[in-house]
């Protein structure tokens, strides 16, 4: 798995934390919604950046009051055909004005990247088979669109 951000491959400084892996004092971690709900206090006391991971059935409104606590939100695509996270992404950006990293995780394939980008994702855990450098070209295959989406202050 490679992480694509701003059209380049970067080293991932975040850790996805399983629900039963103990929380250490240090390191940037991404936790599940469930863990956030049950260990909220503990997580807020940590001095490290925090990320949250939503399953495709977990909508933006479940965390809309808590956005200030997150530096990263990861939205899952359990299979590429499950398009719910596209809606979640747009709502986070456009309705709740979330400005931090919005990361696509799960079955994140080359030919979906551009749709994701346009919905407001800015980081991609690329799961395709081809080299990620090649997948980046998907972002520039098209530059003309009809919809005014993803209007969330990207420059």
């Amino acid at each position: 798995m490679s992480l694509i951000k701003n059209n380049i491959i970067i080293r991932d400084s975040w850790n996805h934390l399983d629900d039963d892996t103990p929380l250490s004092a240090e390191g940037k971690v991404i936790v599940s919604l469930k863990r956030w709900q049950s260990e909220r206090k503990l997580l807020m006391e940590r001095q490290e950046p925090l990320g949250i991971r939503l399953k495709s059935a977990e909508g933006a409104e479940m965390i809309s009051d808590d956005l200030a606590h997150f530096d990263l939100i990861a939205l899952e695509f359990p299979i590429f055909k499950d398009g719910r996270s596209y809606s979640t992404a747009r709502m986070l950006r456009e309705r709740y004005h979330y400005k931090g990293e919005l990361r696509a995780v799960g079955e994140v394939l080359r030919d979906q990247l551009q749709f994701m980008l346009r919905c407001g994702f800015d980081a991609f855990e690329y799961a395709g088979k081809t080299i990620p450098e090649e997948a980046i070209s998907a972002f520039v295959e098209m530059d003309k669109f009809y919809q005014t989406v993803g209007d969330w202050g990207r420059t």
Binding site: G83, Y86, K129, Y146, D151
Partner: protein
């Protein structure tokens, strides 16, 4: 007609390039079939029984002569010289080669056409009344709305991976020719008391395994709010539509499970939060699009031309065709000429490249270069002078395009069925041919009057069997072709789903059975009572009794 600007054109061109690269990656093995399938489907390319099939989008059924010629050219150059017009106003090529598909799409792009979203779990090619802009009783032209919806839905980043496919239809007439009540969303253009334009919004209609007539969730939506309202509906559907069971994934099931009231409440709530964002088009954009559909430079002509009346008087065949296949036009002295793609015993909806060229020529000469495709799988020359009808008819006749059977029993809707389609459980076309042959006598057809026979080769209902006055659904009974008969369906403003009237019958007995149903109607009808009206009056019992009589 709408003409692409630079944005439209480069979007389509870029998409062709993108698909060319995807095909290259597939042929080189970089993509396997599982990965490639959704990509090809998003460009209208299926793999059917005998070969690939390319479904070309004909947005809201509007074509120019130039576009029709391009389709004819593609049929000859890349295919086997013909194409099939579908119930979604599209055109299918049955034999394209994968490696040539990018070239076909490039040829289409040259004439401002594409195959976007004619497949896949996305918003499909939008359909509309084939008489848009010309029907006498029309309130407003649905093509402006349809073009707005086409653009908005094309490569929509949020709604390209919906739970299931999503179909939108628009009409601007009281008389519904676009079957809006059996679409995922149906829009009926209305003018309110203040004289403003808007829409009645109908949601959750559909055919397939669970046929159902849609429900109105809003009586009047102001026109400028259209896109934000559509986004609200689609967003709710995208989030809560079922993804665990393909047969329960359409929006109609959401509405069934939530109830129309709760569904409406959620849509309205969502809409409140997005209606004032940038989603809706500025008025100027509607006006820009509207300008493309401005009235054409018609001549002012008398309502009735003496020469034309004389020709009708002189030539009975011509007069039959005029009576059967043409309709009055908004503009005095003009007509709407329907071109039947249902010759007696022919394949419903099929047109040869030569026929496409003939229609393109006629349109160029006599109809401002415009052609329409009707969801009944016929073509239309929308604006022809009465005085030109005779020469049009003569040309059509030469090419087997002048059967005067519009709306009659031989004007059968049939999906490709098992002759082409990999999902089929039985054939549709040969049955349509047999029925057409049985009722070949036009005098008899006219005596029977308006009667639609719709045939589908499987439960997917591409042949709209549920909404045929008589519907036939092909099923497989231990390897034999059987057909389930429904009666009383209708796709118009009084939409209804046909009732199954008993066990399915084998192929060889279907035509006789249909004949008995028709005879039952002829025997019991009141004066001037159509089949569907008679059925609604007497119910299914008399038909049922006679359907299963064996001799």
């Amino acid at each position: 007609m709408y003409v692409y600007n630079l944005v439209d054109q480069s979007l389509v061109n870029q998409r062709v390039q993108q698909f060319r690269d995807q095909v290259r990656r597939r042929l080189s093995g970089e993509l396997n079939e599982e990965e490639f399938k959704p990509l090809r489907l998003m460009n209208g390319l299926y793999l059917q029984l005998h070969a690939y099939m390319l479904r070309v989008a004909i947005p809201y059924g509007t074509l120019s002569s130039k576009q029709m010629r391009a389709l004819a050219h593609i049929a000859v150059r890349y295919d086997k010289g013909y194409g099939h017009f579908t119930t979604r106003q599209n055109l299918q090529f049955n034999w394209p080669k994968l490696k040539e598909t990018p070239d076909i799409l490039a040829d289409l792009a040259d004439v401002q056409m594409h195959a976007f979203q004619t497949s896949g779990n996305c918003i499909r090619n939008v359909t509309a009344d084939q008489y848009a802009g010309v029907a006498v009783e029309e309130i407003a032209d649905p093509r402006i709305t349809a073009e707005v919806v086409r653009q908005w839905s094309t490569l929509h980043p949020e709604f390209s991976f919906l739970p299931r496919k999503f179909k939108i239809a628009v009409t601007g007439s009281k008389r519904d020719r676009a079957a809006v009540r059996v679409h995922d969303i149906g829009l009926i253009i209305k003018i309110n008391e203040a004289g403003e334009m808007g829409y009645e919004v109908i949601v959750g209609g559909g055919l397939g395994r669970t046929p159902i007539v849609g429900v109105t969730i809003r009586e009047f939506l102001p026109q400028q709010c259209l896109l934000s309202y559509l986004e609200s509906i689609l967003r709710i559907y995208n989030q809560i539509g079922r993804r665990d069971n393909i047969y329960k994934a359409r929006i109609k099931i959401v509405i069934h499970e939530l109830g129309a009231k709760e569904f409406t409440r959620r849509v309205e709530k969502e809409w409140k939060t997005i209606r004032d964002t940038a989603i809706d088009l500025p008025v100027g954009e509607y006006e820009r699009i509207r300008a493309f559909f401005a009235p054409l430079p018609y001549q002012s002509l008398p309502k009735n031309d003496a020469g034309f009346s004389h020709l009708k008087f002189e030539n009975q065949d011509f007069s039959h065709w005029v009576r059967g296949n043409t309709l009055p036009h908004r503009q005095s002295g003009y007509s709407i000429a329907n071109i039947s793609l249902k010759p007696i015993g022919g394949i419903p909806g099929d047109a040869s490249a030569k026929q496409m060229e003939v229609v393109a020529d006629l349109a160029e000469k006599f109809s401002f270069g415009e052609i329409r495709v009707a969801h009944e799988q016929n073509l239309v020359l929308p604006h022809v002078k009465q005085t030109d009808l005779y020469s049009i008819w003569n040309t059509l006749k030469e090419h087997n395009l002048a059967t005067p059977n519009l709306g009659l029993i031989s004007d059968i809707i049939a999906c490709p069925g098992m002759d082409y389609c990999s999902l089929a459980t039985a054939r549709s076309i040969p049955l349509a041919q047999d029925i057409s042959n049985r009722f070949s006598n036009l005098r008899r057809q006219n005596d029977i009057g308006e009667l639609s026979v719709n045939i589908s080769g499987c439960i997917n209902a591409c042949g709209h069997h549920h909404v045929g006055h008589i519907g036939l659904l092909g099923v497989d009974r231990k390897g034999e072709e059987y057909y389930q008969v429904t009666i009383g369906g209708s796709a118009d403003e009084n939409a209804s789903i046909g009732e199954i009237i008993g066990p399915a019958i084998p192929y060889d007995e279907v035509v006789d059975a249909i004949e008995r149903v028709v005879e039952t109607y002829v025997d019991l009808r009141a004066k001037n009572e159509s089949f569907i009206d008679a059925y609604r009056r007497v119910g299914k019992q008399p038909f049922k009794e006679n359907l299963y009589v064996t001799n």
